[in-house]
């Protein structure tokens, strides 16, 4: 019985518990999946005709994809954002209802407890994001196995960073109710300014961007890290990048690293 095996068992245990809790609750899972349905079915299909672009003389939509295709990767990101950040509720739950102590009195190092928990949360978020891929047919997106594997990889790292972000938030919020409000006020603005529902194409249409959108909005989109996460996933899923393709993965990995360290500091304090 070498020590790394013992520690890995611990991480596995914490991870397993998160997966069990999340996948056993059908209501929670359906809730997680109803969002992409609303976005793709209602918003995507509803707005699709307005982005057809056949009205000549006026440039309506310059992205070489249909609106559904364009929206599809962003819906995956939205699903991951919700699931990851709401994961913090599980952290608050453990803290409030005493389960945290059961783990804290165990010989497992706190960093590994956090790692197991965050890995569990990211896996669940990745599953929720991955389930959206089933709708690829609907959005007329064809995916090879390679693309799928890459997309899932990106989704996992993104989910990891966002889960850590959720843990950081949880350390600052005391109640469940407060967290619900808090997370919504964070998730939705981040999502809407991430170039998720409208394109912002600096390479192709610098002038068009300037005429189409006010400076402040362009600024918000450009400083929003989620913009680059959406862009990275678009690059993989529909082969479209608004920014240099290396930006997305770089931003996602940086987020994962920075937020994990922050979560570690917060968790060590609890």
């Amino acid at each position: 019985m070498s020590s790394p095996i013992i520690l890995m068992r611990g991480v596995y245990g914490v991870w397993l518990r998160e997966i069990m809790r999340a996948t056993r609750d059908r209501g929670q899972m359906i809730g997680g999946v109803s969002r992409p349905l609303i976005w793709l079915l209602i918003l995507g299909v509803g707005l699709n005709p307005y982005f057809r672009g056949e009205v000549y003389g006026e440039v309506r939509y310059v992205i070489p994809y249909t609106y559904l295709q364009f929206l599809f990767p962003a819906v995956i990101v939205l699903n991951i954002m919700y699931t990851s950040i709401q994961f913090a509720v599980s952290v608050i739950w453990d803290r409030e209802f005493g389960f945290l102590r059961e783990v804290l009195v165990s010989p497992m190092p706190r960093a590994l407890i956090l790692l197991g928990k965050v890995l569990g949360g990211s896996t669940v978020a990745m599953i929720h994001g991955g389930l959206v891929l089933i709708l690829a047919r609907f959005a007329d997106v064809t995916l090879s196995l390679e693309q799928m594997a890459m997309a899932l990889g990106l989704m996992f790292v993104l989910a990891f960073g966002l889960t850590c972000f959720g843990v950081v938030l949880a350390a600052r919020v005391r109640s469940f109710e407060g967290f619900g409000v808090f997370s919504n006020t964070i998730i939705l603005p981040l999502y809407f300014t991430s170039s998720s529902v409208f394109p912002l194409d600096p390479a192709l249409t610098r002038t068009q961007t300037a005429t189409a959108y006010p400076e402040w909005l362009v600024f918000l989109v450009q400083i929003n890290p989620i913009t680059y996460a959406v862009d990275a996933l678009r690059g993989v899923v529909i082969g479209f990048n608004q920014f240099p393709p290396s930006y997305g993965p770089a931003v996602i990995c940086t987020m994962a690293l920075v937020f994990f360290i922050m979560a570690l500091i917060d968790f060590g304090r609890s």
Partner: protein, 273 residues
């Protein structure tokens, strides 16, 4: 209290399977009405240029690859084909300038290149036809520095700026040609050491047997464009039906026969950079 011991992943598996099944079912919902509208009308309207050989020839006996293709597709879909001839198609690189309207066309054929610019306006289904800049010379390669090279730009919208830049960089002098006939006579008279034109145009020029060789210009600089059928963005169900019809045609070897008939199956040599 229970003797049964459900496997620990059972519940989780059931939930995930349930949701996956739900989503799969939903993914079969038609996202729009483009196909059902056509079926109701019983007509598939196709817009083509008057001539874009070998895709559209204007010759009723041998109407062209795309013309026969769309006819076969309409047949597979069980729709009557209506062809609208629009002179603007293929005259310009940008399909936005072709004055297409939804009322005239469900499908655009003959001269639609599968480029990012096209896809900004139409959605595309690539066909077997492929185009790009090709060179024609006696040696089958680019002539040495200082030679005069004739260029017949054609109408397919290939990147002319990149071509002239590249020619300058290679130290070649470009001479603009006006017609395939001029290209042929200049080549044969030796007024130009080589000619560069678009692939389909090159295919129509009746050069002396074995006297000249065709070759692609370096692909890293001049990408080959796959030709395509164009559909309106958002016509998802129609696009799926057309793609499905194409699959059927490929299975029954109709496609192969068409490709052979219009000379789209032959290989052209590539040049090293």
């Amino acid at each position: 209290m229970s003797a049964k011991r459900p496997h620990r992943w059972l519940q989780a598996g059931v939930n995930i399977a349930f949701i996956a099944a739900l989503l799969t079912a939903i993914s079969f919902l038609p996202p729009d009405t483009s196909l059902s509208d056509r079926q109701e009308a019983g007509v598939l309207k196709v817009c083509v240029p008057p001539s874009y050989p070998p895709l559209i020839t204007g010759n009723p006996a041998e109407p062209g690859y795309d013309a026969e293709l769309v006819a076969a597709i309409a047949g597979d879909l069980g729709l009557r084909l209506t062809v609208n001839t629009l002179p603007a198609i293929g005259q310009d690189f940008n399909p936005r300038n072709w004055f297409l309207t939804r009322a005239q066309c469900d499908l655009v054929a003959g001269g639609v290149a599968d480029t990012v610019q096209t896809r900004g306006f139409l959605q595309t289904i690539p066909t077997a036809a492929e185009t790009g800049w090709v060179g024609i010379s006696a040696t089958g390669t680019m002539p040495p520095t200082g030679s005069i090279v004739g260029v017949l730009p054609g109408t397919s919208g290939l990147d002319r700026l990149a071509l002239s830049g590249w020619l300058r960089q290679q130290g070649l002098r470009a001479q603009l040609l006006r017609s395939p006939a001029q290209l042929q006579s200049s080549l044969e008279s030796g007024a130009i050491a080589a000619a560069i034109t678009e692939r389909f145009v090159a295919g129509t020029i009746d050069l002396k047997e074995n006297a000249f060789g065709l070759f692609w210009l370096p692909e890293s600089i001049f990408p080959h464009y796959r030709m395509a059928l164009g559909l309106w963005k958002g016509d998802q169900t129609l696009k799926r039906a057309v793609a499905n019809a194409l699959d059927n045609l490929a299975k029954t070897n109709v496609l192969n026969a068409l490709e052979a008939r219009y000379g789209l199956d032959g290989a052209i040599a590539s040049t090293a950079e």
